[in-house]
Amino acid sequence: MTATFPQFRQQARIAIEDIRLQGALDTATGNLLGARIQALAELPDSEKLRDHLKSIRSSTLANLVRYLEIFERNAVAAGVHIHWASTGGDARKIVIDIAEQHGVTLATKSKSMTTEEIHLNDALAAVGAEAVETDLGEWIIQLAQEPPFHIIGPAIHKTREQVAELISEASGRSLAPDDIAMLTAEARRVLREKFLAAGMGISGGNIAVAETGSVVLVTNEGNGRLVTSAPPVHVAVIGIEKVVPTWDDAAAWLALLARSATGQPLSVYTSIISGPARNEDPDGPREVHVVFLDNGRSRQIGGEYEEVLQCIRCGACLNVCPVYREAGGHAYGSPYNGPIGSVITPLYSGLRKYEALPHACSLCQACKDICPVRIDLPRMLLALRETEVREGVIPWPERKVEEAAAVVLAHERLLRFVTWIFRRLQGVFLRDGRLQLPLWLDPTLGRRMPGLAQRSFRTMWQAGELESKE
């Protein structure tokens, strides 16, 4: 996947012209934002908690290797197999090897952005192992063969009619869009068979707690529990930046995660996985693997983008982003969309391939304000734009125009001369004081733009017309 300028604009246009999608997107983001405000208000001091979580995240990242080693030691002691993956390819190979060792033909998955990042499902399919998503939203987009639209709500752009159609097709029964209970019951029936038949369960991990080597998983549907406990093997794929030292730290994270994401005090299920089933346990996986994924993360440490690793993946920045709320998630060409996606996708997957993402932003600063750990995303988008200029990703003519404009603006007399010429030339295009460019020449696609005023402010001032009468 990529996001060049034409690709981003094309996908955005599709989303903007889709009235039903716009309605669904507006409702979903609006509701999530409203719920977040209420949920944060329930905390005695949410601002202080945000600062606290930020300091946990930044101090952990400063000693990341140490905490990953502590996690490894404690997890291994609890019987967990730890794997280290430098790249998405390494992680895919590790998971495929585990699947092949156990002769897995069917794997159930709970929602995981990290496995979306490495396109794990396709890799498993290529070796004959079907991966079935069991988070309802994720399952819906899997049925629709689409990438996720939102970090926490992958199918928020789908209407109930579209969902009914997809589930009807999957279950072989014709289901009415108005009967939500029937739709969920049918989803439950189809997925229950998968849970029972799966040879492997695959999850992500919201938090990795070093002091006990535990993986924390938050879900709202309970599917995460079935994925991580019913099959004989559980594999969790987790970004290396998700580790925290202690349970106290994890508690601060959890207190802000669901509140920022959906406005819930906690998600419905918070699962803690600390190793495989003990001998005395009646059920649970016999084998637990944790795959720690780097894939571009560690090289951010110590650099100007390190702060982005503090992200807790709540998705609040998407909900508040005025660009995301019009363009939708697919324009970003990446499982990570919205402001956070616009920063991490180019960093992890290449700036040239995702050249449009640093520009999918009006620098409104709303994401920085809403981020529970106050990541300065606009600052990083600016830094990426600067890199694009420096490395020639921005085309030569545009750079030259900018350079020339700066020269003009650095010389007041030159500015007066250039604007004098413009005032003479713009007459051809001016109608009632508005520029009327032929559409193929109009970079605004139809906004009515004013021309330069007949006389500039500086002209009036210097002519003495604004002299004080007092």
């Binding site: 999918a360 620098l363 404009a405 007041e412 500015l415």
Partner: protein, 242 residues
């Protein structure tokens, strides 16, 4: 005039070249508040368009130039929240690599004010209530409300001049301008503006007020010509306190 009653007007390039009437209104308001207004004619652009598009060396050049031109005045006032934020927040950041320029940028930042902020907080001036003024809805421009935390000030002034302020559902939602963004992503930009104008229309106020020339030009570009009137706060305040 004492030194304390002298202000330099940084009129901004958009007001200078496209909306000069906003500059005229600003001068009148500042004089009405009892200040001697000076216009350093060498001024051009604060450099924000270059900063925002990643052309950092050009932005630095214009930032240094502006610091040079404005540095000697006791106070600087701008009829734009966004350009005020550029000088106040971004200049010190941008000029950090040069200690001398950095401290000059910080000194300038400390005496630079957005117009409504200056009138309310520094001048302590309030317009005389007009007999009747139409209702307005106020657009919180992004940099003004989130980088300078200013929103109460323009509302206070509008209310004092007799305008009822009808709030939008999301007064602080971006209008879609974003400088070069509005040309790079015109479909998205226009969709954002359409949403903003729709929210303004929902309030029933005939006037949409903003403190930023960029937002005003953007929103005028897509608001129906015979409908919503989109005005700079300086123009409204000047007319109401005349």
């Amino acid at each position: 005039m004492t030194e304390a009653r002298r202000v330099a007007l940084f009129v901004t390039c958009l007001v200078d070249q496209v909306l000069p009437e906003v500059g005229v209104a600003t001068v009148r308001l500042l004089r009405r508040a009892g200040f001697k207004v000076e216009f350093p004619v060498a001024q051009t652009c604060c450099g924000q368009p270059f900063h925002n598009s990643g052309h950092t060396s050009e932005a630095v050049r214009l930032a240094k130039r502006t610091v040079e031109i404005l540095g000697d005045y006791p106070t600087v006032v701008l009829p734009s929240g966004s350009c005020a934020a550029m000088i106040r927040v971004e200049y010190p950041h941008l000029l950090e690599p040069w200690p001398d320029w950095h401290s000059r940028a910080q000194a300038l930042a400390a005496k630079t004010f957005e117009l409504s902020e200056f009138l309310v907080e520094q001048a302590g001036w309030m317009p005389v209530r007009a007999a009747s003024a139409p209702a307005v809805t106020y657009h919180d421009s992004c940099h003004m409300c989130r980088m300078l935390q200013l929103g109460a000030e323009p509302r206070k002034l509008l209310a004092a001049s007799g305008h009822r302020v009808n709030e939008m559902r999301e007064s602080d939602r971006c209008c879609g301008f974003g400088g070069l963004f509005s040309l790079r992503m015109p479909e998205v930009s226009n969709a954002m503006t359409t949403e903003k104008v729709a929210q303004a229309n929902e309030t029933g106020a005939p006037i949409l007020a903003s403190a930023d020339p960029g937002c005003i030009i953007q929103m005028r570009g897509l608001a129906p010509e015979d409908g919503l009137q989109i005005e700079h706060i300086a123009t409204l305040l000047e007319a109401a306190s005349r």
